[in-house]
């Protein structure tokens, strides 16, 4: 069990990071900490993908010195997926930050539970 984890240390770390991020996003009451959790969670997945895509001893898939054998290069697809994932993650973070700013301007706190209580007492929104 432990040996397997040591051999696959990158994947193990990636899953632990995912777990940390997931629980932060779920249980933190502070909105900014939730967002940090979300980014940690996504980074975990990206680390997992990147480490899966890399094969020790091989090179980046750009043909050099006329070597065209596919055993010389790594698979470029996981790197492409990570890139796409990062773009998605950045845009989601941007939207969430803007929502956070809007909530903070209105309720002057970042604590989600507190905002919920405040919104219940609000009467101006019909």
């Amino acid at each position: 069990m432990i040996e397997n984890l040591l051999i696959n240390n990158e994947e193990a770390v990636a899953i632990i990071l995912f777990g940390i991020g997931f629980t932060m996003l779920l249980f933190q009451r502070n909105l900014i900490k939730k967002l940090i959790g979300m980014n940690i969670m996504d980074s975990g997945v990206f680390l997992f993908l990147a480490s899966m895509g890399y094969i020790g001893g091989r090179k980046a898939p750009i043909i050099t010195d006329g070597v065209t054998s596919r055993t010389a290069y790594i698979n470029p697809v996981p790197a492409g997926l990570v890139l796409t994932g990062i773009v998605v993650s950045v845009s989601v973070t941007a939207i969430m930050l803007s929502l956070t700013i809007r909530l903070y301007k209105r309720y002057h706190t970042l604590d989600l539970d507190r905002i919920y209580v405040l919104s219940k007492h609000q009467t101006e929104d019909r």
């Binding site: 995912f18 997931f22 996504d42 899966m52 997926l81 994932g85 939207i95 929502l99 989600l112 019909r126």
Partner: protein
């Protein structure tokens, strides 16, 4: 290759362009353009439906001519075309029936942004329906999440922002899990396209040592999509989200967005994993139990709800439970029932969400049951439409709700397991009774005279056209359910091919 095989891609690309175009137009022009454009899409998708029916087989559109294990693909069969068509018709009806509220709820300078978001959302919906690649599914899933958050917060009151934040947090958890599931599957199989992945999974599933890992990957993916579509116990965001959004958004969010996630899950099961492999995993039983839990708990909460929108929203939680119950039952009849209920619920729920604001409007903009007393008399059309929607929800014959409940019953009988049969029949009976309690109570309420002066609402006939379309489709599904079921069977057969 016929020219028609390009149409699925057109629906996605044109929607993306339209999103940009609406951003540049003024509010009113953007609305007109969107309505015209949705009509065009309906024509395109109808062509695809007829084409696939005529050729009798699904077609795959290869992007950029990179063949199977490398490129990206779009696949169109009868099932995809049918769902895309239903989604577009409901979207058009929601835009048409709700634009007056969009104009009053939104700041004038932001109306065009609303339609811009709707077009981007159409692109995401279409892509989720057509896609044959799991990672494309993930990307458009995120686009769908972002745009649905967008159409929620355009109505700038504190409640919608809070609802959007809660909605987004749950959705982000779901997306994260879905992405992890996809990555794990990619890691195991080496493919992202559904067809090669299916072959690899079939090989892997023969090895008992790999099965737990495979189950975990599929399980993570399933939990992700279940969270996003609001399966019990992840449904608590529904009342706030649907209750405070502008009516068009509530209709679209409840009847299209959550269904698109479910269809993606269904397609992943059918195309990427294979139903025979899914059958060996305990996942379907869990979905069955959670689905039944949702049917009962959602309805109980709906009975306790204090305003009509919250009640209708919580009844969505129960209806999502029905769909998952169908997937959980499995077998052709179970899947048919699930898909049929996706259509039936989408039509009925959009009808209800587009009617409740009209009832509230003649009751001093108040959604509480007390204020709504007599609103069905003050606004006759809305009262009638609400009653039809409510009767369909309860499962009265001639409406779609009855036909889908019948399908679920048949699927339970065909599951050949007495435990499942008893569970499902009991759940159907209890849930129908609970539905009847809160919907009939509401119908009586809106038709009870309250002595207030009977100022009738006068509105333009334009509002009734989309509602009549929805009612017509609802009755069609109820009376001629065999037509749709036949189509679904054809689609499912194409999935297997």
């Amino acid at each position: 290759m016929d020219f028609i095989t390009n149409f699925p891609l057109f629906t996605i690309m044109l929607s993306l362009f339209s999103g940009v175009l609406c951003y540049m137009l003024k509010g009113k022009a953007a609305r007109r353009y969107t309505i015209f454009y949705e009509l065009l899409l309906i024509v395109l998708v109808s062509c695809v439906l007829v084409y696939t029916l005529r050729t009798g087989e699904a077609f795959t559109y290869v992007m950029g001519e990179f063949p199977a294990p490398w490129g990206n693909e779009i696949r169109a069969g009868v099932l995809e075309a049918l769902l895309a068509l239903a989604f577009l018709v409901i979207m058009l009806c929601a835009v048409f029936a709700g634009y007056r509220f969009v104009d009053t709820d939104l700041d004038e300078s932001k109306v065009n942004l609303y339609y811009s978001l709707l077009n981007l959302m159409t692109a995401a919906l279409m892509a989720l329906v057509w896609t044959n690649d799991l990672f494309t599914g993930y990307v458009f899933l995120e686009i769908l999440t972002l745009t649905s958050c967008g159409i929620l917060i355009v109505r700038e009151i504190g409640r919608t922002t809070l609802a959007a934040v809660r909605y987004m947090i749950l959705n982000l958890l779901g997306s994260g899990l879905f992405l992890l599931g996809v990555v794990l599957l990619y890691d195991l199989t080496g493919h992202l396209l559904m067809v090669p992945m299916h072959e690899a999974v079939a090989e892997l599933a023969a090895d008992p040592a790999v099965m737990p890992v495979l189950t975990m990957a599929v399980g993570i993916l399933t939990i992700g999509l279940a969270i996003k579509s609001g399966l019990f116990p992840f449904h608590y965001w529904m009342p706030d989200t649907y209750g405070w959004a502008t009516p068009s958004s509530a209709a679209i969010l409840s009847s299209l967005v959550s269904k698109a996630y479910i269809f993606l899950l269904f397609k992943t099961y059918a195309r990427a994993i294979g139903f025979s492999v899914i059958g060996k995993m305990p996942i379907r039983n869990i979905l069955l139990v959670l689905g039944i839990g949702g049917m009962v708990v959602g309805s109980m909460q709906a009975i306790r709800a204090n305003n009509i929108n919250r009640m209708v929203a919580l009844s969505s939680a129960a209806q999502i439970g029905y769909i998952y119950m169908g997937i959980g039952l499995g077998g052709t009849s179970g899947y048919t029932a699930a898909i049929f209920h996706i259509l039936a619920h989408a039509l009925t729920k959009s009808l209800l969400f587009l009617t409740t604001p009209r009832l509230a409007e003649v009751s001093g903009d108040d959604l509480s049951f007390k204020a709504l007393q007599g609103s069905g008399i003050r606004n006759r059309d809305a009262g009638v439409f609400f009653t039809i929607g409510a009767l369909s929800m309860i499962g009265i014959p001639i409406f779609a709700g009855f036909a889908s409940k019948l399908q679920f019953g048949l699927a339970a009988v065909e599951s050949r397991s007495s435990l499942k049969l008893i569970l499902v029949m009991l759940a159907l009976a209890v849930s129908s009774m609970l539905n009847a309690i809160y919907f009939i109570r509401t119908i009586i309420r809106i038709y009870a005279r309250d002595g207030r002066d009977m100022q009738r609402a006068h509105h333009r006939a334009g509002y009734n056209i989309p509602m009549l379309v929805l009612v017509g489709a609802n009755v069609f599904l109820g009376l001629f359910s065999w037509v749709i079921i036949d189509l679904i069977h054809k689609g499912l057969n194409m999935f297997a091919a």
